[in-house]
C-alpha cells in the first residue's frame, strides 16, 4: 500500500466522520424544531409535572448545551439517552434489541442477493441473447423498479393468505423466511444486472481469448479468470445495497410484523418518541456510511487499474 492509497483512505474516513457529524446535527436540530415537544400527546399534565419531566430529560437547558451533551454522550459512551415514551428503557437498549432480529434479516437477505445475483448474472452473460438471458433480464427489470412495500405485500398475499405456507407473523418460527426473500429480491436483481454487464465486458478481454487459445478449459476460464474480475464492480454496490436493505426493512418489518429495529423506528415516529427517532436515525446512518466507506476503499484497493484522485 503506497502513500497515495493511504492518503485516499484517510480522506474518505475524514469525509465519513464529517457525514456522521452532519447527520447527528441535522437530526438533533430537526427534532428540536418540531413544535409541541415530546409531552404534547400526553394526557393533560400539570405545569409542575411537565417542568419535572423536562428537567429529567434535560430539555430545560439551552438548546446548544443540550446539543453538546448529546454529542458528547454519543461519542464517549454511545449513549442516546432514555426513551421518552417507553419509560425506564434506554434508547440504545431498544436499538440493540431490535438489531438482533434486523441484523439476521439484513445479513441473510444480503447473502442471498449476492449468491443468487452473481450466479444468475453469470448465467445470463454466458448464455447471452438466449432464452434464459432474456427471461432473467425481464424479471430483474421488473424487480428493480418494484417498491419494497409492494413486493412485501404481494409476498404476504401469496404465501400467507392464499397458500398459507408461512406464518404472517415475523416473530413466529419460520416467520423470517418471507421478509428475507422480500428484502433480497431487489438487490439480487441489481447484482444480476451488474454481474451480467461486467461479465460480458470481461469475456471480451484479450486475456480471456489468450486463455482460450492456450486451451484452458472453459470451467477454469469462467471461475479462474472471468468471474474473479467480473465481481470487482459488484463491490461498489455494497453501500447502496445496505441502504436499500435498511430502508426496505422499515416497511418489510411493518408488513410482516417482525420485531426489529425498523418496526420500532416506524412506531417511534408515530408515537413521537424523539430520542428513539434520533438514536435510530443516527445508528442506521452510521451503518450506511461505514458500508459506503468500506466498499469504496475495497474497490479502489482491489482493482489497481482504478486511479486514485
Amino acid at each position: 500500500m503506497n502513500t497515495k492509497t493511504l492518503r485516499y483512505i484517510l480522506k474518505r474516513i475524514g469525509l465519513a466522520l464529517l457525514t456522521v457529524w452532519i447527520v447527528i446535527t441535522i437530526t438533533f436540530f430537526v427534532m428540536h424544531a418540531v413544535p409541541g415537544g415530546p409531552f404534547l400527546g400526553e394526557k393533560a399534565i400539570s405545569e409542575a409535572a411537565k417542568a419535572a419531566l423536562e428537567e429529567k430529560y434535560g430539555l430545560d437547558k439551552p438548546l446548544f448545551q443540550q446539543y453538546v451533551t448529546y454529542i458528547k454522550d454519543i461519542v464517549t459512551k454511545f449513549d442516546f439517552g432514555p426513551s421518552i415514551k417507553q419509560r425506564g428503557r434506554e434508547v440504545i437498549d431498544i436499538i440493540a434489541d431490535g438489531m438482533k432480529t434486523s441484523a439476521k434479516l439484513g445479513l441473510a437477505a444480503a447473502a442471498i442477493a449476492l449468491v443468487c445475483g452473481t450466479v444468475l448474472g453469470s448465467v445470463a452473460a454466458l448464455r447471452r441473447n438466449k432464452l434464459i438471458d432474456r427471461v432473467i433480464m425481464v424479471v430483474t427489470t421488473a424487480f428493480v423498479s418494484m417498491p419494497s412495500f409492494i413486493m412485501g405485500t404481494f409476498m404476504l398475499l401469496l404465501f400467507t393468505v392464499q397458500l398459507a405456507i408461512f406464518p404472517a407473523n415475523g416473530a413466529e418460527a419460520g416467520g423470517l423466511v418471507l421478509p428475507i426473500i422480500t428484502l433480497s429480491l431487489s438487490p439480487m436483481a441489481n447484482i444480476t444486472r451488474l454481474t451480467r454487464s461486467s461479465m460480458l465486458d470481461v469475456l471480451g478481454q484479450d486475456y480471456i481469448r489468450t486463455a482460450k487459445a492456450k486451451g484452458v478449459s472453459s470451467i477454469k476460464i469462467i471461475f479462474g479468470h472471468a468471474l474473479k474480475n467480473a465481481l470487482i464492480p459488484v463491490i461498489t454496490y455494497f453501500g447502496p445495497m445496505l441502504a436499500y436493505i435498511v430502508t426496505g426493512s422499515l416497511v418489510v418489518e411493518q408488513i410482516f410484523a417482525v420485531p426489529g429495529i425498523g418496526r420500532s423506528f416506524v412506531s417511534s415516529i408515530i408515537n413521537r418518541d424523539y430520542t428513539l427517532i434520533m438514536g435510530t436515525t443516527i445508528v442506521l446512518a452510521i451503518l450506511i456510511v461505514i458500508m459506503n466507506l468500506v466498499s469504496d476503499i475495497l474497490y479502489k484497493v482491489i482493482d489497481p487499474r482504478i486511479t486514485l484522485e
Binding site: T27, V30, P35, F149, T153, Q162, T247
Partner: protein, 353 residues
C-alpha cells in the same frame, strides 16, 4: 460489347452524358435530418419504450379526465346522507355490487353507475380513489422533478460557469449531501414537517388545496435530491465548453449567443430532459413509500401508497384492494423507468453504456 477479361479496352458507352432519367435515379431526395427527428426515429423503433409511453399517456389521461365525469368523488361516503342514519350496506362492497338504496333504484328501472372496484370500509367508491391516488403520485413525481431540475440547474450551471473557488465550495457541499443517507433523512424531515404549523401558514393560499404534507414532500425533495442533477449539469457544461466543435465554431467567428444556442444547449438539453424523466419514477417511489409509512398525504386524500397500506388490514377478506394500487404503482414506475431508458438510448447515444 464482348469484352475479354483483363482487357484494357474501354467501354465507350460509359462516357456518354447521362440521360435525364438516369440523373433522376441517382439523385436522392432525402430531406436533411435534424437531431430531434433522428432521436424520434430511434425512439419509435424501440418497442418497449413505445409501449411504456402509451401506458404512461393512458394513465395520465385517465387521471385527468375520469374525475370530471365519474359520478362519485374520492371522499364521498355513499352510505352517509344528510338526515338519515348511516347505511352500512355501502361499506365494503365487492366490485360491481350495489348498496341497498341503489338496489331499490335498479329494481325501479333506473340505471346506477357501477362501483367498478367496489367500495372501501367507509363506503367510498374505490375506483375513483385509485384514480385520485394515481393522480397524486404522478403530480408529486412531476413537480418534484421540476423542483429538482430548477435547483440542480441553477447550482450546477453556476458551479460549472464560475469555476474556481465557487465551484470547489459548491462541489464539496454536493459531495457531503450526496453521502448522506437520503431515505433516512427524508423520513426524519417528513415526520418533523408533519408536526409543524405548515397548515396554518398556507391557509387561504393556493397551496392549501395541495395540503401541507405534499408541500413538505416537495421541500424534502428540494433539499436533498438536487445534488446529482447539479453534478450532471456542471459536468456537462465543463465538458461541452472544451469540445472541438465549440473551438471550431469560435474559430469560424461565431458569436457567444450562436455557440450557446446552437451548440451548447442542444447537447445539454437532451441529457437534462432524460435525467429529469428518470427522476419522476424515483420521486413517485419515495412518495408512495412515505405514504405507506403514514408520512405522506393527508386523509381523506388518497395516495397509492396509503391505499396499499390501508388495504393491509383487510388483506384476508379484500385482497384485490391491495392488488389494484400495487399493480398501478408498479406499472407507473416500471413504464416511466423504461420510457426514461428509451429516451436516453434514443436521444443520447453517448450515455448508452
Amino acid at each position: 460489347m464482348n469484352k475479354k477479361m483483363f482487357s484494357m479496352h474501354l467501354d465507350l458507352d460509359a462516357f456518354n452524358p447521362a440521360t435525364e432519367s438516369e440523373k433522376e435515379y441517382m439523385v436522392q431526395m432525402r430531406p436533411s435530418s435534424t437531431f430531434f427527428r433522428d432521436g424520434v426515429k430511434r425512439f419509435v423503433k424501440n418497442k418497449v419504450a413505445l409501449v411504456s409511453l402509451i401506458i404512461v399517456v393512458l394513465i395520465t389521461l385517465s387521471c385527468i379526465i375520469i374525475p370530471f365525469f365519474w359520478p362519485y368523488s374520492y371522499d364521498q361516503m355513499l352510505g352517509v346522507q344528510l338526515g338519515k342514519p348511516v347505511d352500512a350496506s355501502y361499506n365494503n362492497l365487492a366490485p360491481f355490487q350495489y348498496g341497498a338504496t341503489e338496489q331499490a333504484k335498479i329494481a325501479a328501472g333506473e340505471t346506477v353507475f357501477p362501483h367498478v372496484f367496489g367500495t372501501d370500509s367507509q363506503g367510498r367508491d374505490y375506483f375513483i380513489r385509485i384514480i385520485y391516488g394515481a393522480r397524486i403520485s404522478l403530480a408529486v413525481g412531476f413537480f418534484a422533478s421540476i423542483i429538482v431540475l430548477i435547483i440542480g440547474m441553477t447550482v450546477g450551471s453556476i458551479s460549472g460557469y464560475c469555476g474556481g473557488k465557487v465551484d470547489l465550495v459548491i462541489m464539496r457541499i454536493v459531495d457531503i449531501i450526496y453521502s448522506l443517507p437520503d431515505m433516512l433523512l427524508i423520513i426524519l424531515l417528513a415526520s418533523a414537517l408533519k408536526q409543524t404549523k405548515l397548515d396554518e401558514i398556507i391557509q387561504g393560499t393556493v397551496l392549501e388545496k395541495i395540503g401541507a404534507n405534499i408541500i413538505s414532500l416537495f421541500i424534502v425533495f428540494g433539499v436533498l435530491y438536487w445534488v446529482s442533477m447539479s453534478r450532471l449539469i456542471r459536468g456537462q457544461i465543463l465538458s461541452l465548453r472544451e469540445q472541438e466543435y465549440v473551438l471550431a465554431s469560435q474559430a469560424a467567428g461565431a458569436r457567444g449567443k450562436w455557440i450557446i444556442f446552437k451548440h451548447l444547449m442542444p447537447n445539454c438539453i437532451s441529457v437534462i430532459i432524460i435525467s429529469t424523466a428518470l427522476q419522476i419514477p424515483s420521486a413517485i417511489f419515495t412518495e408512495s413509500y412515505l405514504s405507506f409509512l403514514g408520512l405522506g398525504v393527508n386523509a381523506p386524500m388518497p395516495s397509492l401508497g396509503s391505499l396499499a397500506s390501508d388495504a393491509l388490514n383487510g388483506i384476508n377478506s379484500y385482497p384485490y384492494r391491495l392488488v389494484i394500487p400495487a399493480v398501478v404503482i408498479s406499472l407507473i414506475v416500471l413504464s416511466l423507468n423504461l420510457l426514461g431508458d428509451g429516451l436516453r438510448d434514443a436521444f443520447d447515444p453517448k450515455l448508452n453504456g
